[in-house]
């Protein structure tokens, strides 16, 4: 077993102090009776329940956490504003180029951060005690707001707005997982699309499935994306509500490639009908060039060929040509 875990167990056994309370215990020693146990207010006791409803933090009377504070805590829980050096202390070892790293966000770490944030603006023992007492409740409120942060960031929701719908409860009690992708992929495909599923079973989510159809049939399979952001031109951060079993990373749909097929012979274009089934193949007419290099397509002739190959010979327009030239976006599956 790990050295740290052993030491921790010993320390817990001898001192009776929870590790999370240790620094506070020291700072509070001035004001607290030595005999009285310090950590006693985290649990709501029955005799305290007669107070007002915002007293859920137990013996320490608190006032309700303002909406902005709760939202800020939720934002920081989703690693907004957290310097990257705190996340990845050793870039070369932990996040080399062309790597994908999965993680879960440590709740204890975030509780410590919450505690520090609530101490902002005052270092008196009273603030420290209040911050410590309010921490469990604040963390609880912040976890409940996790699903709202993205909408607020996108300007679709106002913090504490009037008539605001209640936030969707996070699944898995606020467990947030995610990945960091450091790769040239992020640079080249900045609008990369991401889907996360709770099941890697091909029976649940077939590899070539239409995500909208799967989502309509089994909404429980979709893992909510809490954050998807490029931290810098080659670093992508994604956070999920809960733990996905399978991920799809797809080429951005606004920039799906236009392509032709070429297997040694002349380039061909596969014609598809609207559901996407192959109906025909036409050879791509190339322009005869005299001085420029090869590869220039005779677009007008290609449009005509497509028109002639379709059943009722509807003239091919820009959208029709684009539809035939589109290739299915690449999709990479992880997990499962």
């Amino acid at each position: 077993m790990s050295r740290g875990a052993d030491l921790l167990r010993q320390r817990l056994a001898t001192s009776g102090l929870l590790p999370s309370a240790a620094p506070i215990a020291r700072s509070l020693a001035r004001g607290a009776s030595a005999a009285a146990p310090v950590e006693s207010t985290g649990d709501a006791s029955p005799d305290a329940s007669g107070g007002t409803s915002d007293d859920a933090s137990g013996g320490a009377p608190g006032t309700a956490l303002p909406a902005f504070i709760a939202h800020s805590l939720a934002r920081w829980r989703l690693l907004h504003d957290i310097p990257i050096a705190y996340l990845v202390p050793d870039t070369a070892a932990l996040l080399p180029p062309e790597s994908l790293r999965f993680f879960a966000i440590d709740d204890a770490w975030m509780e410590a951060l919450t505690e520090g944030a609530l101490m902002a603006g005052g270092r008196g023992s009273r603030e420290l005690a209040h911050a410590r007492d309010a921490r469990p409740q604040a963390a609880h409120e912040a976890r409940a707001l996790l699903t709202e942060v993205r909408a607020v960031r996108q300007g679709r929701l106002v913090i504490g707005g009037f008539g605001k719908p209640a936030p969707v409860a996070p699944v898995a009690g606020g467990l947030v997982t995610g990945f960091l992708l450091r790769s040239e992929l992020v640079t080249r495909w900045p609008g990369m699309e991401l889907r996360a599923w709770t099941s890697a079973d091909p029976l649940d989510v077939p590899p070539g499935a239409d995500p909208a159809a799967v989502e309509a049939a089994r909404p429980d399979l979709v893992v909510r994306i809490l954050r998807l952001e490029r931290l810098n031109p080659s670093l992508l951060l994604a956070l999920f509500d809960g733990q996905p079993q399978m991920l799809w990373l797809e080429e951005p749909h606004h920039a799906v490639q236009f392509g032709v097929e070429q297997d040694g012979g002349p380039p061909e274009l596969v014609l598809r009908d609207l559901p996407g089934a192959t109906v025909d193949r036409v050879e791509v007419p190339m322009r005869v060039v005299s001085q420029a290099g090869p590869g220039v397509i005779d677009v007008a002739a290609l449009a005509l060929a497509i028109t002639n190959a379709t059943p009722n010979a509807v003239p091919t327009t820009a959208a029709g040509l684009a539809r035939q030239l589109l290739r299915a976006p690449s999709r990479q599956r992880f997990g499962g």
Binding site: L100, D106, G121, A292
Partner: protein, 453 residues
């Protein structure tokens, strides 16, 4: 928003013409007032000038949402047509090419076929300069093909230009663009050329050129030098035999959990993280002495790991300090948290916390039962009692024998404004509360109203 296509679907449109193309306009308005068939005096006609603007000499970085192949990319792009994705769907129609075609076309120029260079508007042919209306000294990027024949070979026919430009709508909910410009509408300008690989990595430059007032391009003298083209956006890439596609790069990724101890590829190299997921760091104390410490961030690839309580583990201290810094850095957060602390303190001053008192009194009273006392001059509870008498129930400085008197002493010692008499009454009240099953109560008490004992 309601008209979004489903996630994963694409809608294609031929064009999106703005109702007014770019240019200067005059809006004339006048009133005609009549009565019984005869005109009456009307206010003079009103003229209003306005101009509809569109990019002229270059596209701003925000106008181009995406380029494919990506700038500076290397890969086997031979089977793909390069294209530029524009963030505003009407952009290709905001100005007009000859005969109403879009004013944008994408030319793919191989190395040696032409040169993209920085110049000024003066490098363009005279009729084009006149139509653009920009000063000759305005900087502009120009494409000069090596000969008229090369330009003739590469340029799409006039009828082909509209075919190569279309509008598409996608759903950006699950992409990194969500939240920014995410209406899902884009205009796509496609090139008419495959960037074929012709050995040794062929370098191509894709140039989004302006066709505004360029009737001359389709009446070229192929033996004369090619006229310069105005380049609005350009990027270059290299076509190779293999690799470089989305699938290739995805397959080449190293995939694993974050900060796993196994991360070191070379077993001889020191592990970057220890078994608890911590990274060794150096810290200097106030005397400049270096110390070996370790730290782990909020991301864990392992299972649940409690914080280590070793002196050398700075993880928890870092988290608390970072939280404090973040809180202090956000003015609104700081303001609200201070107000929140003050409210809590004001509340606590007016509240006797029975649970804490019990805890605090344990060393005084022992575990024995507390004698219930019927409160006589009971402090009145309720919000109407005015200013609270600042009674704090902090758990400090307890000494003396375990009697109600001691409780009153304690309360007296820990407050500044409460009289001894009030404290005496309170002590009995508190004792009653301790013994009974009454809920925790607010005790508001004016000194002059307290019944002296």
């Amino acid at each position: 928003m309601s008209d979004m296509p489903a996630v994963g679907s694409i809608r294609l449109y031929d064009e999106a013409r703005p109702s007014l193309p770019a240019g200067d306009y005059v809006l004339e308005s006048a009133l005609a007032i009549e009565q019984g068939g005869g005109p009456l005096d009307a206010p003079p006609a009103h003229r209003m000038f306005f101009s509809v603007q569109a990019p002229l000499l270059r596209l701003e970085p925000g106008d181009v949402a995406d380029c494919h192949p990506a700038p500076q990319a290397r890969g086997s792009f031979a089977n793909q047509l390069p294209h530029a994705v524009l963030g505003r769907r009407s952009l290709p129609w905001e100005r007009s090419g000859p005969g109403g075609i879009p004013w944008l076309a994408l030319l793919v120029v191989a190395q040696g076929e032409g040169l993209v260079e920085a110049g000024t508007v003066a490098g363009l042919p005279q009729p084009v300069r006149a139509a653009l209306g920009a000063p000759d000294t305005a900087p502009a990027t120009l494409l000069r093909c090596t000969s008229g024949q090369v330009l003739y070979d590469l340029l799409p026919e006039r009828a082909e230009v509209p075919l190569l430009t279309h509008v598409r709508q996608v759903n950006l909910r699950d992409s990194t663009l969500a939240g920014a410009d995410d209406d899902g509408w884009f205009a796509v300008v496609t090139a008419n050329r495959q960037p074929l690989y012709t050995g040794e990595g062929t370098a191509y430059t894709a140039c989004l050129v302006s066709l505004q007032a360029r009737d001359d391009l389709w009446l070229l003298d192929r033996n004369a030098p090619a006229p310069a083209l105005l380049v609005l956006h350009a990027w270059s890439f290299v076509s190779t035999a293999t690799g470089g596609t989305f699938e290739d790069m995805m397959r080449a990724l190293s995939v694993q959990g974050f900060a796993l101890p196994l991360a070191a590829a070379d077993p001889a190299a020191p592990a970057p993280v220890d078994a608890a997921g911590c990274v060794p760091l150096q810290r200097r104390d106030r005397h400049g002495e270096p110390h070996d410490v370790h730290y782990r961030g909020p991301l864990r690839g392992l299972g649940e790991q409690p914080f280590s309580v070793e002196e050398a583990d700075i993880s928890r201290a870092s988290a608390v300090e970072l939280g404090r810094l973040l809180g202090n850095a956000d003015a609104r957060f700081l303001r609200e948290v201070v107000v929140w602390h003050r409210a809590a303190e004001a509340r606590e001053r007016g509240l006797v916390n029975i649970k804490r008192l019990t805890e605090a009194l344990k060393p005084l009273l022992g575990e024995g039962p507390i004698r219930p006392v019927r409160p006589r001059a009971l402090a009145r509870a309720g919000p109407g009692a005015g200013q609270p008498a600042a009674m704090s129930a902090s758990t400090s400085a307890i000494s003396g024998a375990g009697t109600p008197t001691a409780i009153s002493m304690f309360i007296n010692a820990s407050t500044t404004t409460t009289t001894r008499a009030v404290a005496g009454a309170l002590s009995q009240h508190i004792a009653a509360r301790l013994a009974g099953d009454l809920p925790r109560a607010r005790l508001w008490q004016r000194p002059e109203e307290g019944g002296p004992e």
